[in-house]
Amino acid sequence: MVVEARRLDLTFQTADGPVQALSDVSLDIRAGDFVSFIGPSGCGKTTFLRVIAGLEEATGGSVSVNGMTPDEARRARAYGYVFQAAGLYPWRTIGRNVKLPLEIMGFDRAEQDRRMRDVLRLVELEGFERKYPWQLSGGMQQRASIARALAFDAALLLMDEPFGALDEIVRDRLNEQLLDLWARTGKTICFVTHSIPEAVYLSTRIVVMSPRPGRIADVIDSPLPRERPLDIRDSAAFIEVAHRVREGLRAGMGDDV
């Protein structure tokens, strides 16, 4: 089991009182799973990812990552994290941004260069390594930040709406590439999205969340095969799963809708 969450609670103490971001969240993520988290804004998707990453501490329940506490897993550099905003360092070129984790983790120079070129090719940014972030479009910056998370080849990828800022066409292609990467490398991927088709297309499991307090409304195991051409999205099975996700989202919203 890569991630094991048991009855997780997380309450933020804010100036205007406590905010319960996660309530009674239990979830198992197996090695090689592609898990999508979908739900309305503010339902705790980012918070859950941050708990897994050891960036936020749960106030109740337990969570383990690779059998360790999230903090130990973080120290063991168990995961790559793609943040909701690209967050490239403005004084580093794209190439050097991608190399940042490699420098910190002590890869030698030749290896840094090789990996940087590899991952930039993967996100179709080859030739841009000497540009500064502000010289790139928002979508290109986001792709660079994905490359940065892929560079050190962690077995677990935590991706917080990585394609949220991209147009449909680029998004489709990157979805395909991500699936391809996942199939080739056998990574475990946790993926936050607002798009039902994206969640259904990519995932082996879809976690539907609902807000106030953030909790899991439904977990859907996808019946789709692992091999997925883009036109699988027109198949009956795909539409069936998408329908279930939509139902789960509607039920989770309760009286709010």
Binding site: L55, R74, A76, W91, R92, E103, M105, G127, R130, K131
Partner: protein, 313 residues
């Protein structure tokens, strides 16, 4: 090295184009700058006549004459010990002491300026290193954060004119003389803006940038070197400009209490001793020129550094 197939902003603006732009900018700025200088000179001349007139009137009264406007004009613009020397007198003094003296001569203002500048630069170096070191300590250590800043602020509320003689006397008694006492006063004034600017700069990375470092489980030293320090550079340069000007003031003040015979401070002191106002004003202008030079130099280094880092657009 081949450029990626992407049109960079400003591509196609070749070197010659850039030089042309520079020339255009300078000539475009020349008009207003010239106008301001002329206006300042006019005000200066008017003030010279007005402030020095009393002496001419006194002279005339003693000789039982009436002084006409022409007499006043002639009598005020070329006095030997005027209240306010005229611009051309200061210019002549500068010419005599800068251009007509070998720079190694004690009568050369350049030589005096260099004496002060060497103390300024030494002090500025000490102050900058000290300021950066303190800022790093303050940012990384809660106890230092609580304890150092109040002392640093308190140190700046003591008038430098009060503490400078003490520093000089104390150091003198242990046999330290010459450049070092002045440099220490200069460092005393310049470390403060560096501390304040660097603390702000080292704390400028936002939560997301710091979180990224945490996901890599980066050490504090790595976070400092790869995130906090580069992020702080724009702040550092801003405070270095303030700091270097303060350093110069410190070095000049450091020359006053001992009756030093070398340096711009010594020129100011001996000038006021003997009522040589022309000499004082020449030394003041030289000090102002040195300050402009130092600040300009830091501005240049700033442009080059931040440009290389892709931070100056």
């Amino acid at each position: 090295m081949s450029d990626p197939p992407l049109a960079a902003p400003g591509a196609g603006t070749g070197r010659s184009g850039r030089v042309g732009l520079l020339v255009w900018r300078i000539s475009g700025a020349a008009g207003p700058v010239l106008a301001v200088i002329l206006a300042l000179l006019a005000i200066w001349y008017a003030a010279t006549v007005w402030l020095n007139a009393q002496w001419v009137l006194d002279q005339a009264a003693r000789a039982d004459r009436m002084a006409g406007f022409g007499d006043i004009l002639r009598g005020t613009l070329n006095q030997e010990r005027p209240v306010l020397p005229a611009p051309h007198q200061v210019a002549a003094e500068l010419w005599n002491t800068v251009a007509l003296q070998p720079v190694t001569s004690r009568r050369s203002l350049v030589w005096h300026a260099w004496v002060t500048l060497s103390a300024t630069l030494t002090g500025f170096g000490i102050g900058t290193v000290l300021g950066i070191a303190l800022a790093i300590g303050i940012v990384h250590n809660r106890a230092m954060d609580m304890s150092v800043m109040p002392w640093a602020i308190a140190s700046q509320t003591i008038p430098i004119l009060a503490i400078a003689p003490m520093i000089i006397v104390v150091l003198n008694s242990v046999g330290v003389q010459g450049l070092l006492p002045k440099a220490i006063i200069s460092a005393y004034l310049s470390f403060f803006p560096v501390v304040v600017g660097m603390v702000t700069g080292l704390r400028s990375p936002d939560a997301a940038q710091l979180d990224l470092m945490r996901t890599y489980s980066a050490s504090r030293a790595q976070t400092l070197w790869k995130l906090r320090f580069p992020a702080s550079l724009p702040y550092l340069f801003a405070s270095l400009k303030v700091g270097v000007a303060a350093s110069l003031v410190g070095a000049i003040v450091g020359e006053l209490p001992t009756g030093a015979v070398r340096g711009l401070g010594a020129r100011l002191l001996s000038g006021s001793y003997y009522g040589q106002t022309v000499q004082i004003w020449a030394a003041l202008l030289m000090a102002a020129f040195c300050a402009a030079l130092l600040v300009g130099l830091i501005g240049l280094i700033q442009r080059l550094t931040l440009g290389r880092m892709g931070l100056a657009r």
